[in-house]
Amino acid sequence: MKRTIPLFITAIGGFVLIAAVFSGYTQSWGEVAAIWFDVLAAIAFLLGGGNLMKIHLRKISDRAAGWAYSVVTLVAFLATLIIGLGKIGVNPAEQFPDKVFSGSYREVGGPFWLIYEYAFKPLTATMFAMLAFYVASAAFRAFRAKNFEAILLLGTAFIILLGRTYAGVWVTGFLDPDGPLSGLRLENVTVTIMKVFNTAGNRAIMIGIALGIASTSLKVLLGVDRSYLGGGEG
């Protein structure tokens, strides 16, 4: 039963969504299924939170390597959750002054806003900004012209790197923008690479992926592929 019921739900859900696309009569079924999906997605947050707690509590109780980071994670998670859900420090909304929790949890100056503004925002921005340093280091150590393909890649990288800045305009500025050789201006070569070569390659990959998804989905819907159910007897 543990495996049969999920298989049944998957098949019904999948085939309803397929039928909704191909038939006008069943279109509303697809809309209902989509609403169910959104409700389930909201519930998935609970599962995710529970799983996070479970993993990190176990790590702390086992004193596993890096357990102190788990403490930081749990404290940050619980503090944000309690402040956000409890709407701590939130004032009532202007239009509902007698309703205690009617204000926005994102209110400027509130505890949740402080967490977002002074912890979440700088931390995530810093993590993303650090990419520039690692990419620069990788460019020096790993980007080698080892063979013909690598040389092509390097050449394209140079054109795009120059073409996406004013350097591209400056380097090939001697070519008349309206002349017959205007296509060789670096900013135009960049556009051609993106529009022609990149699009052609990406479309081929996307069509391949789509065909793969279609075949895998059919296997799942028909119950041939049951790996998503995990192990265990049913």
Binding site: Q95, S104, A145, K146, L162, Y166, R203
Partner: protein, 308 residues
């Protein structure tokens, strides 16, 4: 020299990158000088899509990004809001990312409330907020907004919001503007909104790594695209060229509207993209230099190995 490059500590590279970004920021901040931008066709398509809509058109702005990509995407998000407001469109803000509402709040606070104080919440713009469900949200609101958005972020019922009275679903929008940092984002809007309902029009702004993946949808399914900070800078150039006089007028506070060269003096927040092209230029040149130096080391090593 060869030994120095071969054994180069990566901390020197980090320092060089830091200087390559920091120095242009400081120089541009002091001098105010920036590089000129020549908009490409894709950016012009974005501009025209908003500009050509009749006044009072309904524009859905979905801000699907977070603080991690704010440096790259906030300038275009700012400009989208400015352009729509200046053009007199009705703006419906929403987000598919959990921290998207904060991005919307920033835009409303810094652009609409400060520079368009005559615009009224609920009549000219509304913040619908975030809903969980990734592309599932698009699949629902494409036929009925109220299934998920029964209220706006202030708790006002959908039916009590004046500008939502004649809006049933995304299909009632004249244009979708998406600012995207990944999944869910422009790809999902194209796949689940524009492709099944081809009458809908969408333009987008995205991160640099996303842009190549979105080109295959241009121009039938995606009508215009701002790729990374370069796209934002070009879009800023178009919008400031069209609305520069109004922007300068608003910020002048008694000061001259134009500089010595006759260009309108426009406040930093509307030229953030253009200003960031300076650090981008120098950082890109550093990358090219590092690749060349790395390959010089590589070829010298290879020659030495062959000799052995």
């Amino acid at each position: 020299m060869y030994e120095f490059l071969r054994d180069l500590d990566r901390r020197w590279i980090f320092l060089m990158m830091f200087l390559c970004v920091a120095v242009p920021i400081i120089v541009i901040g002091i001098t105010g000088k920036t590089f000129p931008e020549e908009p490409t066709d894709l950016v012009r398509a974005v501009f025209d899509s908003i500009e050509d809509l009749p006044r009072g058109s309904k524009v859905l702005l979905s801000y699907d990004y977070d603080p991690a990509s704010e440096g790259e995407l906030a300038p275009m998000a700012t400009m989208f809001a400015y352009h729509c407001a200046a053009r007199g469109h009705k703006m419906y803000f929403m987000a598919l990312w959990p921290v998207g509402p904060q991005m919307v709040d920033d835009t409303i606070e810094n652009i609409l409330k400060r520079d368009f104080s005559h615009l009224e919440y609920g009549k000219d713009y509304v913040n619908l907020g975030y809903k969980s469900g990734y592309e599932g949200v698009i699949k629902v609101i494409i036929t009925d907004f109220t299934e998920l958005y029964s209220t706006d972020t202030r708790g006002t019922p959908w039916s009590a919001i004046p500008m939502c009275e004649d809006v049933e679903s995304v299909q009632d929008m004249d244009l979708i503007v998406n600012v995207s940092a990944g999944y869910p984002g422009t790809k999902e809007w194209v796949q689940y909104a524009v492709t099944p309902y081809p009458k809908l029009r969408i333009v987008a702004g995205c991160t640099g790594v996303q842009a190549p993946l979105l080109y295959p949808y241009i121009p039938e399914q995606l009508h215009g695209l701002l790729g990374a900070i370069k796209g934002a800078a070009e879009y800023e150039a178009l919008v400031t060229a069209r609305y520069g006089a109004e922007m300068a007028q608003r910020d002048a506070e008694g000061n001259p509207l134009t500089d010595d060269e006759g260009r309108y003096v426009i406040r930093g927040k509307y030229t953030e993209g253009i200003r960031r092209m300076g650090p981008q230029l120098v950082a890109h040149l550093l990358m090219i230099l590092l690749i060349i130096l790395g390959n010089i080391v590589f070829f010298i090593e290879r020659r030495k190995e062959r000799r052995r």
